[in-house]
Amino acid sequence: MKSLVLKDLYNIGHNAKTMLFILAVLAVAFIPTSGASGYIFISAVLCGMMIVTTFAFDDQSKWTRYAMIMPLSKKDLVAAKFVVLAIFCTIGTLLGLALSAVGMFIAEKGPLDFAAIGELLFLALAAWAVSFIIGGMAILLVLRYGAEKGRVLLLVSFLIPASVCFGVYQLLVLLGVVMTDRLIFGLLCGSPAIAFLWCYVMYQISCRIFARQEL
C-alpha cells in the first residue's frame, strides 16, 4: 500500500505550488473579511478534494490496471485512497491553521491569546473531519462513476453527508433531544471519530463497488 500512497503524493506534488498559490489568494480574500473559521474549512476541503485529481491522473495513465498486476489487492487500492485523503485533509487543515494564525496575528497586531488559539485548534479539528467526510463520499462516487463524472458529482459529495447530518438532527429533535451548546461542543469534539466511522462505511461500500469492476 505504501507504493500507492507514494505514487499519489509524487503525482500531486506537481500541483502543490498551484494549490499553495490558491490558498494564499483565498487567505487574503477571506481572513480579513470572514475571519479564520471559514478559511480553515475552505483550506481543508480544497486539499481533501485533491483526491479526485489523483483519480484523474490514474485514469489518464491507466494506472489502476497496472497496480493490479503488482502484489496488491483491490482492497489495498481503495484503502490507499483513504490514507491519501487523510494526508491531504491533514495538510489542508494545517495550512489553513497556519495561514489563519498568521492572518489573525496581522489583524490583531500581536500574538494570539490562549482562547483564540484554542478556538482555532477546535475549528481545525472540525474542518479536518468535514473534509474527510466529504472526501470519503467523493472516493465512493468516483469509483462508482469514474473520475470525469466524479468531478461533476463533487457537489453531491457535499450534499449527501449534509443531508445525513440534517436527517440525524431532525431525528434527534423528534426524539426530544435538545441541542444545547454543550451537546454541539461534544459532537464537534467527536467529529473526527464520526468522520472515521463514516469513512469506514464508505471504504466498505467502495470495496464492493471496485471488486465488481473490470479494468
Binding site: K2, S3, S61, K62, Y66, M68, E214
Partner: protein, 286 residues
C-alpha cells in the same frame, strides 16, 4: 515439459464478442507468441489471464496456482502493456521508488543497471521521453523485481525497427534462464518469428492453433496455383485459401507432401504473416 502458465478453456463474453474456450500453456524457458488481427481477443486473453477482467469460464494457473490465491505469485510475474502506466510528471527515479515499495523482490541496483543500459535519464519527467524510451522504462520496471514470467501485451507496437530489435534482444536474454518464460502478444509477426518458440493464433475469439514456430516454418506451406489445379486439391488438406487476381493461394499443413502430390504447383514456405493473412482474409473449406 513444466508449464509456468496453464490456460484451460478460457472464456469471456462481451456484447458482440466471445473469447471462446482458449487453451494453451507456456513451458519453462520458452517464448509464446500470441497472434491475431486487431480485436481477435489477444488483449482480452491477457486481461483474463491477469484477472483484470472476470472470466466467464475456464482456469488460469501460474506454477499450478491461481493468481488470486497468493499476492506472492505476482512478485514472479512482470507485465508490460502497450503504453506506460505511470503519470507523465513522474521520473524514472520516482518510478523506481514506487516499485521498490510494491515489490519485496525489487532490486534497486538491477533497476539502475537497466536505466544505464537503456540510456534512460533518472531525473527526466516521463513526458519528455520518446515512445521507445517509455517502453524501455516499462521493461526495466518489469524486469527489476526479478520475475520468472514476463507477459507483454503489444509491448513492441509503435516502435521503430532498431528499438524493437534492442528490446527483442532483452527478451531473448531473459529466457536464457531456463526457469524464465515470456507470453508475448503482438501483431508484428516478424518480431515473433525472430524470438518465439511457440505461436498461438487467435481469430475472432477462437483459438485456431497453438504450434511450435518450427512446425509452422518448416511444415506449413502455400500452394500457388490456378483454378484447375485448385479444383484437384484434396479439400481436407486445405487449412485456408484465398483467390488473388489470377492465382489461388492455398495454405497446407504439410508442404513436402503437397509438393510431391501436386507436381505442377509452386509450393512456397509460409511465414507467420502469410498464415495470419490467409486465415483472416481467406476462406476455410466447410
Amino acid at each position: 515439459m513444466d508449464a509456468i502458465l496453464q490456460v484451460d478453456n478460457l472464456t469471456k463474453h462481451y456484447a458482440g464478442f466471445l473469447l471462446d474456450h482458449v487453451s494453451f500453456s507456456v513451458p519453462k524457458g520458452t517464448i509464446m507468441g500470441l497472434i491475431g488481427e486487431n480485436g481477435a481477443g489477444k488483449s482480452t486473453t491477457i486481461n483474463a489471464i491477469l484477472d483484470l477482467v472476470h472470466k466467464d469460464d475456464g482456469t488460469v494457473t501460474f506454477w499450478g496456482q491461481e493468481l488470486s490465491s497468493s499476492k506472492q505469485l505476482k512478485e514472479d510475474i512482470g507485465v508490460v502493456f502497450d503504453g506506460i502506466n505511470f503519470y507523465e510528471t513522474l521520473t524514472p527515479a520516482k518510478v523506481g521508488k514506487i516499485s521498490r515499495a510494491a515489490y519485496k523482490q525489487w532490486d534497486g541496483y538491477l533497476y539502475q543497471d537497466f536505466l544505464k543500459r537503456f540510456c534512460l535519464p533518472a531525473d527526466k519527467e516521463i513526458k519528455t521521453l520518446s515512445k521507445g524510451m517509455k517502453m524501455k522504462l516499462c521493461i526495466a520496471a518489469a524486469l527489476s523485481h526479478k520475475p520468472k514470467l514476463l507477459i507483454l501485451d503489444e509491448a513492441t507496437g509503435g516502435l521503430d525497427p532498431v528499438m524493437r530489435d534492442d528490446i527483442l534482444d532483452v527478451f531473448l536474454e531473459f529466457v536464457q534462464d531456463e526457469n524464465h518464460s515470456i507470453l508475448m502478444s503482438s501483431h508484428i509477426t516478424t518480431d515473433l518469428e525472430k524470438v518465439a518458440d511457440y505461436i498461438t493464433f487467435i481469430h475472432q475469439g477462437k483459438m485456431l492453433f497453438c504450434k511450435t514456430k518450427d512446425e509452422l516454418r518448416y511444415q506449413y506451406g502455400i500452394i500457388r496455383c490456378g483454378a484447375d489445379l485448385f479444383s484437384q486439391i484434396d479439400k481436407t488438406e486445405i487449412l485456408a485459401y484465398r483467390k488473388d487476381d489470377y492465382q489461388w493461394n492455398v495454405l497446407v499443413a504439410d508442404k513436402e507432401k503437397a509438393a510431391g502430390k501436386y507436381k505442377n504447383a509452386i509450393v512456397d514456405n509460409a511465414t507467420v504473416d502469410d498464415i495470419l493473412l490467409l486465415y483472416v482474409k481467406g476462406e476455410q473449406v466447410k
